[in-house]
Amino acid sequence: MARYSIFSLARHALRHHEDWPRAWRDPQPKPAYDVVIVGGGGHGLATAYYLAKNHGISNVAVLEKGWLGGGNTGRNTTIVRSNYLLPANARFYEHSLKLWEGLSRELNYNVMFSQRGVLNLAHSDAQMDAYARRGNAMRLNGIDAVLLDRDGVRDMVPQLDFSAAARFPIRGGLLQPRGGTARHDAVAWGFARAADARGVDIIQNCEVTGILREGDRVTGVETTRGTIRAGKIGLAVAGHTGHVAAMAGLRLPIESHLLQAAVSEPLKPLLDTVVTSGAAHVYVSQSDKGELVFGGDLDFYNSYAQRGNLPAIASFTTALIALFPGFGRLRLMRHWGGVMDMTMDGSPIIGKTPLRNFYIDGGWCYGGFKATPGSGWVFAHTIANDAPHPLNEAFSLERFASGHVIDERGAGPVPGAH
């Protein structure tokens, strides 16, 4: 793998960048692999990378039906945080956040992880109480958390509406200073390049059309590029988890819903923190290119249509103005939809399934991007050892039968609880 650095960049500049090597190969699929990962998004690629790096398993193929990172990796609003209340979530996402902190150098690919802080706004005393509870829990879990009062929020985000007439009065907020954003495409590309360098076959334009079973055991996949045998199969297809799992005859506690997101035209810096408001159902940050990146709620009906829809856009742009009256004159440049794999308790499923050699990493709801390195880490462990890592033991399918759900929001049995 040709190392990237300011020096190599300068060296190549002299040759007009005419002999940069490929970031990853474009191999033909082999007839069989030790492990086949279905899904060439951040999660699948990270899993392949850690299988090779942590577990020495490099006879691995990552099968992507389209182009790498073309699903939710390339559609999400790139927020990275670990500000969770429940121990299982807190431990897992904090592990992931720690991996983020070293990721650019780990992969020798700048994923532009920007720890600019993630701020949850509180608009009522009840919300302040809830954030106090969460902040206290975070600190006890060893996660950075700062409870801000009104003035503390004003110092960080003066553009918010602090007037008496504000529809969402600012009572304060919960800040995780180590949270932030990252460059979504770069995460997929960086993991792909690093996994490829360790011998992983990354195969694009290869859609899985069937999963081969012998009794309660999976043995391979049918694809648009032929049959591929596999010792083990790991599923990392986010919004399509239910769809692909059905090929193996599995039904899951997951519904696929559309999440809308949008960017504004590029502007000079005006927002240095990730700001989210649960009450207003909107979150916003500013990309390095200058675009405001914002999103809100689901469409709330099952959908695999990766396209924009107006109602959600209208409601969260309205909320955005309610929070930031100065944003009303800006223009929305692009909006789109991503397919979210919503579990019924809002927490992911990472682990074994009723089928042998068949593993699932899915049910990410809105939270998949920030989990990318962490889920790759524990999913690789789960596949390599046929047993979960301590960090993903709680995220098992069994929890739905026992009732030991991980309901961060406490909303009961509804899709998109989180």
Partner: protein
Amino acid sequence: MPPQPFRLPQGGRIDRSRSLAFTFNGRRYDGHPGDTLASALLANGVALVARSFKYHRPRGVMSAGAEEACAFVQLGEGARSDPNCRATQIELFDGLTAASLNCWPNVQLDFGVVSDRLHRLLPAGFYYKTFMWPRRGWLTYEKLIRRAAGLGRAPSEPDPDRYEKRFAHADLLIAGGGPAGLAAALAAGRTGARVILADENGEFGGQLLWRDAEIDGEPALRWVERSLAELSSLPEVRLLPRSTVAGYYDHNFLTVLERVTDHLSPFAAPTATPRQRLWKVRARQVVLATGAIERPLVFINNDLPGIMLAGAAQAYIRRHAVRPGGRAVIFTNNDSAYETVAALSEAGVAITAVIDARAGDTAAAEACLRRGIEVLRGHAVIDASGGHALREVTVAPLDGSATALAGAASTLRCDLLCVSGGWSPTVHLFSQSGGKLAFDAASGCFIPGESRQAERSAGAARGSFDLAACLAEGHAAGLAAARAAGFAGPDSPPPQAPAQAMSPIRPLWEVPSPHQGRRDRKFVDLQNDVTAADIALAAREGYRSVEHTKRYTTAGMGVDQGKTGNLNTLAILAGETQGAIPAVGTTTFRPPYTPVTIGALAGRGVGDFYDPVRKTPMSPWHEARGAVFEPVGKWRRPLYYPGPGEGMEAAVRRECLAVRNAVGLCDASTLGKIDIKGRDAVTLLDRVYTNSWGSLAIGRCRYGLMLKDDGMVFDDGVTTRLGERHYLMTTTSGHAEAVFGWLEEWLQCEWLGLDVYLTSVTTHWATAMLAGPRAREVLAAAGTDIDTSRAGSPYMTVREGHVAGIPARLFRVSFTGELSFEINVPARYGLALWETLMAAGAAFGIEPIGTEALHVLRAEKGYIVVGHDTDGTVTPYDLGMGWIVDQKKPDFIGKRGLRRSDLVRTGRRQLVGLLTDDPAQIIPEGSQIVRSGASLAATPVPMLGHVTSSYWSPALQRSIAMALIEGGQDRQGEAVEAVLPDRTLRAVIGTSRFYDPEGVRLHG
């Protein structure tokens, strides 16, 4: 310099009788009505308008429409300042001010240009390869990059303008008011169909506004005028100028952004009129007549000011009466640019030569030669030079494959280069609609393939560039759409235009370089400064999917969304990957077509109209009394009623003591109320509550707890039997709608047979809660015909009669632990009742009670508040309320859920009382609880639970708290610690029934 040195003496669609003064970069200029900012700048000889996004290269006006990739400006100042506006779409008004973007100190001398000098270090994706050192270094580099990036500046004040939205329903929506769109509107409008015709320009006519054409044997513009006159006379046709069809969504739902007053000075605009209006159109049928966009040609330095699309040059001459240059060269690979040649000579622009990539003879070229204009056939412009303005171009012959040069180069002086690389149909809306594109090799562009919605493309939008064809297709599409929408009205003859003979285009995606390799900078995406070399680099590194190329190089990701650059990007990528263009595929076009003002998406749903604030009949009294409110769902409820100079703490203490010692009055009108009638009413109650209801006598009340089917607590409240088959259910204020909807869902989806009718009467009744030892005396003083004595109205009963002369239901229930009545009267009398009770109560020390005092009072009794002490993961057993779960009932919602293994395990979090060792200390709600003596240093620290409710109890003169604690009910007497950010508080677990545990007082 004379005023408007480049203004033509006559012609054009401008009003020379009026002058409009405007300011650009601090300098004052004049223009005329009919000008855009771009045409006015050109008329004044301003060639340098902006600096580019990445390299800060000088840029001028390169188009005359929405496709503009260079001439972006900051429009206006202060609160109305508008970033990233296309000079080509800004209609000039008197007093307009604008400034160049992304340059410092000014557009002439821009220090940012240093990045242009360093360009070799900054190829596509350079930032992915560096800035990784030191470990946390990125935050520092990022600051610099962020400052360099971005275009315009956001205004800092709130937007003072008004925006509207409205729904519209149409049999046919037509996007684009050019020849095809107008023909479609006429054909459909004449059948009586409801037609909306939207065009993004201030004038209808599209290219007819600047092309020299004939329709039905008269000048095209006459036909446009007659067509508009007829359309305006048709009652069901709506013409929307300055209106961009922005988004095409499912089921033929489209958005149209109408710029109502943007063409007026903000001070001239009528006040009640919105600045912009977002139309939400549900159309039975759609015709896309969105025209086509001309493609630039890709050669070295093809981004200099003075290099302009050929069609745009023609538009500036014929529509705006502006001479876009003094000495011109035309560079084309197709016939369309020859119209520009004619226009240029009419305008008296010296024409050095026409450079036609096509080697063979063409009628168009012959015509030029006859007029003595030199035409270099089989040639290309390979380079351009000049600083802030074009000075000369270098031309050379092309070889047969157009991939290499076939001879010596020569230079031509000029200050204007008109380029035409052919035309790309504007297929954005078609693509948004879900339709798949097809590549038309003959004209070298993507055209609409099969439709996925009730939609038709017509004219140039469909790849038909000949006027006669545009008119015919538009007419046919309009008529077919009307028929499909069910209109049999008359057909009319389609408008006619003489057919034009056109010679074929010679595709030329990238002009070959004089040098080897990829050292030259030929811009493909002028907005984001993406060069052909960047595309090649992406392909070389393996970013070969068009989406990868786009994201890696940022081609097509700019404000112009790559309208001019998309196809050239694809073609160059195809070349690099030895693929065919259709194989490379096209990127998906995401809405909107052009950026939409966020304020317009919000419309009037801002400020007080953001969300309804629900008010009770007593709200005016609370407001007059100066109550402090808190949101409860969409309601605003009094939190407390401050006395003169009184803070929350003191007010709440006063209110609590009033209830314990005298009497208080609380507005409980927000409580959910559901009227239940029917023979199976009691069956319903037995199924949705955990306890049994068969035994409830008429006139009696009972408390009930509702679970979801997972066994978790959902809501609670008192339900009263009013008649043989008639009950009244109350719910929490926050859950009223949810409970009502949930009951309906069970009745309509699961229990279809039940004879039960639910009616929400929440707001039909106003509810005043009178609580305290002297409540009876207040009722007596207010006047009532109901026997309120202990015997006459025992605890948990209802009586009907009158209070203060108002028909009332008197519920003897208590949420405070005191003698208490909930008085329900028809809402119209709510305020009258309240005022009467306050007056009658004065003698007994009555106080109005807010929700905070109410919460303190109920907490003293250990009563839960669903959603406060519970969170959707709590069972009745967790709350110590197993007594209300009747396991003998065959079934109720949640019964099976409660049996699941995790819900019956030991060690679940259970609700308990907490008393701090120091009675003066109040544990903040939300505090986490840990074992006493647990070390907070070694994280993660095991947490036993958290505090759900915590108050100062005026009655007990100490703090009290409720908490959910692991195995709490077996930990009575155990000491724990509540963790605060800065310290811990020691407390002991006990019962949560802090006050009057025997309930003597409420039976009072």
